[in-house]
Symmetry: C2
Subunit: 119 residues, 2 copies
Protein backbone atom coordinates (compact mmCIF):
# COMPACT_ATOMS: atom_id res chain seq x y z
CA UNK A 1 0.00 0.00 0.00
CA UNK A 2 1.57 3.22 -1.15
CA UNK A 3 0.58 6.45 0.45
CA UNK A 4 0.47 9.53 -1.68
CA UNK A 5 2.61 12.20 -0.05
CA UNK A 6 2.87 14.37 -3.14
CA UNK A 7 2.39 18.09 -3.40
CA UNK A 8 -1.36 18.22 -2.92
CA UNK A 9 -1.32 16.46 0.43
CA UNK A 10 -1.35 18.92 3.29
CA UNK A 11 1.39 18.07 5.74
CA UNK A 12 0.46 18.15 9.39
CA UNK A 13 1.97 21.47 10.32
CA UNK A 14 1.75 20.95 14.06
CA UNK A 15 3.66 17.69 13.86
CA UNK A 16 6.27 19.16 11.52
CA UNK A 17 6.66 22.20 13.76
CA UNK A 18 7.32 19.99 16.75
CA UNK A 19 9.63 17.76 14.75
CA UNK A 20 11.81 20.43 13.21
CA UNK A 21 11.86 22.41 16.45
CA UNK A 22 12.99 19.31 18.32
CA UNK A 23 15.73 18.73 15.77
CA UNK A 24 16.90 22.34 15.77
CA UNK A 25 18.88 21.94 18.99
CA UNK A 26 22.28 20.25 18.82
CA UNK A 27 21.99 18.84 22.32
CA UNK A 28 18.79 17.05 21.35
CA UNK A 29 20.34 15.81 18.11
CA UNK A 30 23.24 14.46 20.14
CA UNK A 31 20.80 12.71 22.47
CA UNK A 32 19.14 11.11 19.46
CA UNK A 33 22.53 10.06 18.13
CA UNK A 34 23.26 8.46 21.49
CA UNK A 35 19.94 6.61 21.37
CA UNK A 36 20.79 5.08 18.00
CA UNK A 37 23.22 2.91 19.94
CA UNK A 38 20.44 1.68 22.21
CA UNK A 39 18.10 2.73 25.02
CA UNK A 40 19.44 4.87 27.85
CA UNK A 41 18.38 6.38 31.14
CA UNK A 42 17.96 10.12 31.53
CA UNK A 43 21.12 10.29 33.62
CA UNK A 44 23.08 8.59 30.86
CA UNK A 45 21.68 11.09 28.41
CA UNK A 46 22.57 14.02 30.64
CA UNK A 47 26.09 12.98 31.63
CA UNK A 48 28.07 13.65 28.43
CA UNK A 49 26.67 17.14 27.92
CA UNK A 50 27.83 18.93 31.03
CA UNK A 51 24.35 20.06 31.92
CA UNK A 52 22.03 19.62 34.87
CA UNK A 53 19.62 16.73 35.01
CA UNK A 54 16.56 18.98 34.77
CA UNK A 55 17.93 20.49 31.56
CA UNK A 56 18.49 17.09 30.00
CA UNK A 57 15.09 15.98 31.19
CA UNK A 58 13.45 18.98 29.53
CA UNK A 59 15.16 18.16 26.24
CA UNK A 60 13.88 14.63 26.47
CA UNK A 61 10.36 15.97 26.95
CA UNK A 62 10.68 17.96 23.76
CA UNK A 63 11.79 14.82 21.93
CA UNK A 64 8.92 12.87 23.45
CA UNK A 65 6.36 15.45 22.36
CA UNK A 66 7.76 15.23 18.86
CA UNK A 67 7.35 11.45 19.20
CA UNK A 68 11.00 10.90 18.43
CA UNK A 69 11.56 9.18 21.73
CA UNK A 70 9.45 7.09 24.08
CA UNK A 71 10.26 6.66 27.74
CA UNK A 72 9.01 4.19 30.26
CA UNK A 73 9.67 4.04 33.94
CA UNK A 74 11.03 0.93 35.56
CA UNK A 75 11.59 1.46 39.23
CA UNK A 76 13.16 4.87 39.54
CA UNK A 77 14.93 4.69 36.18
CA UNK A 78 13.33 6.13 33.07
CA UNK A 79 14.42 4.21 30.01
CA UNK A 80 14.31 6.19 26.80
CA UNK A 81 14.16 4.64 23.40
CA UNK A 82 14.53 6.06 19.93
CA UNK A 83 11.31 6.12 17.93
CA UNK A 84 12.61 7.08 14.51
CA UNK A 85 9.49 6.33 12.49
CA UNK A 86 8.24 9.90 12.77
CA UNK A 87 11.34 11.00 10.88
CA UNK A 88 9.61 9.63 7.82
CA UNK A 89 7.55 12.81 7.94
CA UNK A 90 10.76 14.74 7.33
CA UNK A 91 11.67 12.30 4.59
CA UNK A 92 8.31 12.81 2.93
CA UNK A 93 8.43 16.56 3.39
CA UNK A 94 11.76 16.56 1.56
CA UNK A 95 10.25 14.84 -1.47
CA UNK A 96 9.17 17.96 -3.31
CA UNK A 97 12.58 19.53 -2.85
CA UNK A 98 14.64 16.44 -3.63
CA UNK A 99 13.25 16.52 -7.13
CA UNK A 100 14.23 20.18 -7.40
CA UNK A 101 17.81 19.78 -6.25
CA UNK A 102 18.39 16.67 -8.35
CA UNK A 103 17.44 18.72 -11.36
CA UNK A 104 20.03 21.31 -10.41
CA UNK A 105 22.66 18.64 -9.81
CA UNK A 106 21.90 17.06 -13.16
CA UNK A 107 22.41 20.39 -14.87
CA UNK A 108 25.70 20.83 -13.03
CA UNK A 109 26.80 17.33 -13.99
CA UNK A 110 25.98 18.00 -17.62
CA UNK A 111 27.86 21.26 -17.47
CA UNK A 112 30.91 19.58 -15.95
CA UNK A 113 30.73 16.82 -18.55
CA UNK A 114 30.62 19.37 -21.34
CA UNK A 115 33.58 21.25 -19.87
CA UNK A 116 35.67 18.08 -19.76
CA UNK A 117 34.81 17.36 -23.38
CA UNK A 118 36.27 20.71 -24.36
CA UNK A 119 39.60 19.96 -22.72
Amino acid sequence: MKVNYSKSIPYNDDALDRLFKALSDRTRRAQLARLVKGPASISELAEPFDMSLPAASKHLKVLEKAKLVSCKKSGRVHYCQLQPEVLQNVEHWLTDYREFWNEKLDKLAQFVARESDDE
Copy 2:
Protein backbone atom coordinates in the same frame (compact mmCIF):
# COMPACT_ATOMS: atom_id res chain seq x y z
CA MET B 1 33.70 11.73 -6.00
CA LYS B 2 31.69 10.39 -3.13
CA VAL B 3 31.69 12.15 0.18
CA ASN B 4 31.55 10.06 3.30
CA TYR B 5 28.62 11.21 5.41
CA SER B 6 28.54 8.16 7.67
CA LYS B 7 28.32 8.06 11.43
CA SER B 8 31.88 9.08 12.20
CA ILE B 9 31.66 12.35 10.30
CA PRO B 10 30.78 15.26 12.54
CA TYR B 11 27.88 17.15 11.06
CA ASN B 12 28.22 20.90 11.02
CA ASP B 13 26.06 21.73 13.98
CA ASP B 14 25.81 25.43 13.24
CA ALA B 15 24.51 24.78 9.75
CA LEU B 16 22.06 22.11 10.95
CA ASP B 17 20.85 24.39 13.75
CA ARG B 18 20.12 27.17 11.28
CA LEU B 19 18.57 24.74 8.83
CA PHE B 20 16.21 22.96 11.25
CA LYS B 21 15.36 26.23 12.97
CA ALA B 22 14.47 27.76 9.63
CA LEU B 23 12.28 24.78 8.81
CA SER B 24 10.57 24.74 12.20
CA ASP B 25 8.18 27.56 11.29
CA ARG B 26 5.17 26.77 9.13
CA THR B 27 5.14 30.21 7.53
CA ARG B 28 8.69 29.71 6.32
CA ARG B 29 7.89 26.21 5.08
CA ALA B 30 4.94 27.68 3.19
CA GLN B 31 7.22 30.28 1.67
CA LEU B 32 9.57 27.53 0.54
CA ALA B 33 6.63 25.63 -0.91
CA ARG B 34 5.66 28.74 -2.81
CA LEU B 35 9.20 29.09 -4.15
CA VAL B 36 9.13 25.58 -5.55
CA LYS B 37 6.80 26.99 -8.19
CA GLY B 38 9.35 29.63 -9.14
CA PRO B 39 11.02 32.85 -7.94
CA ALA B 40 8.92 35.47 -6.21
CA SER B 41 9.19 38.97 -4.77
CA ILE B 42 8.94 39.59 -1.06
CA SER B 43 5.48 41.10 -1.49
CA GLU B 44 4.32 37.99 -3.27
CA LEU B 45 5.70 35.91 -0.43
CA ALA B 46 4.00 38.08 2.19
CA GLU B 47 0.60 38.42 0.58
CA PRO B 48 -0.94 34.96 1.14
CA PHE B 49 -0.04 34.83 4.81
CA ASP B 50 -1.94 37.78 6.16
CA MET B 51 1.14 39.27 7.72
CA SER B 52 2.98 42.54 7.46
CA LEU B 53 5.77 43.01 4.97
CA PRO B 54 8.44 43.35 7.68
CA ALA B 55 7.38 40.03 9.17
CA ALA B 56 7.62 38.26 5.83
CA SER B 57 10.92 39.96 5.16
CA LYS B 58 12.30 38.71 8.47
CA HIS B 59 11.28 35.15 7.65
CA LEU B 60 13.05 35.44 4.33
CA LYS B 61 16.20 36.55 6.14
CA VAL B 62 16.08 33.42 8.27
CA LEU B 63 15.75 31.33 5.13
CA GLU B 64 18.63 33.21 3.53
CA LYS B 65 20.90 32.66 6.52
CA ALA B 66 20.11 28.96 6.34
CA LYS B 67 21.04 29.23 2.63
CA LEU B 68 17.69 27.84 1.60
CA VAL B 69 16.91 30.94 -0.40
CA SER B 70 18.91 33.51 -2.31
CA CYS B 71 17.59 36.97 -3.11
CA LYS B 72 18.78 39.56 -5.55
CA LYS B 73 17.57 43.05 -6.05
CA SER B 74 16.46 44.32 -9.44
CA GLY B 75 15.19 47.84 -9.26
CA ARG B 76 13.09 48.07 -6.15
CA VAL B 77 11.90 44.49 -6.18
CA HIS B 78 13.81 41.70 -4.48
CA TYR B 79 13.56 38.40 -6.30
CA CYS B 80 13.88 35.35 -4.09
CA GLN B 81 14.81 31.96 -5.38
CA LEU B 82 14.77 28.54 -3.78
CA GLN B 83 18.22 27.10 -3.10
CA PRO B 84 17.31 23.56 -2.12
CA GLU B 85 20.80 22.02 -2.26
CA VAL B 86 21.41 22.65 1.42
CA LEU B 87 18.51 20.32 2.19
CA GLN B 88 20.88 17.53 1.30
CA ASN B 89 22.36 18.11 4.75
CA VAL B 90 19.02 17.07 6.21
CA GLU B 91 18.95 14.12 3.85
CA HIS B 92 22.39 13.05 4.97
CA TRP B 93 21.60 13.62 8.62
CA LEU B 94 18.64 11.29 8.23
CA THR B 95 20.83 8.47 6.98
CA ASP B 96 21.64 6.93 10.34
CA TYR B 97 17.99 6.92 11.34
CA ARG B 98 16.58 5.71 8.04
CA GLU B 99 18.44 2.46 8.58
CA PHE B 100 16.93 2.19 12.03
CA TRP B 101 13.32 2.73 11.01
CA ASN B 102 13.59 0.48 7.98
CA GLU B 103 14.61 -2.30 10.33
CA LYS B 104 11.51 -1.68 12.41
CA LEU B 105 9.30 -1.58 9.34
CA ASP B 106 10.79 -4.84 8.09
CA LYS B 107 10.00 -6.49 11.38
CA LEU B 108 6.45 -5.16 11.22
CA ALA B 109 6.06 -6.41 7.65
CA GLN B 110 7.30 -9.84 8.67
CA PHE B 111 4.90 -9.88 11.57
CA VAL B 112 1.98 -8.91 9.37
CA ALA B 113 2.97 -11.55 6.82
CA ARG B 114 3.07 -14.21 9.51
CA GLU B 115 -0.31 -13.13 10.84
CA SER B 116 -1.88 -13.45 7.37
CA ASP B 117 -0.38 -16.92 6.99
CA ASP B 118 -2.20 -18.01 10.10
CA GLU B 119 -5.55 -16.97 8.73
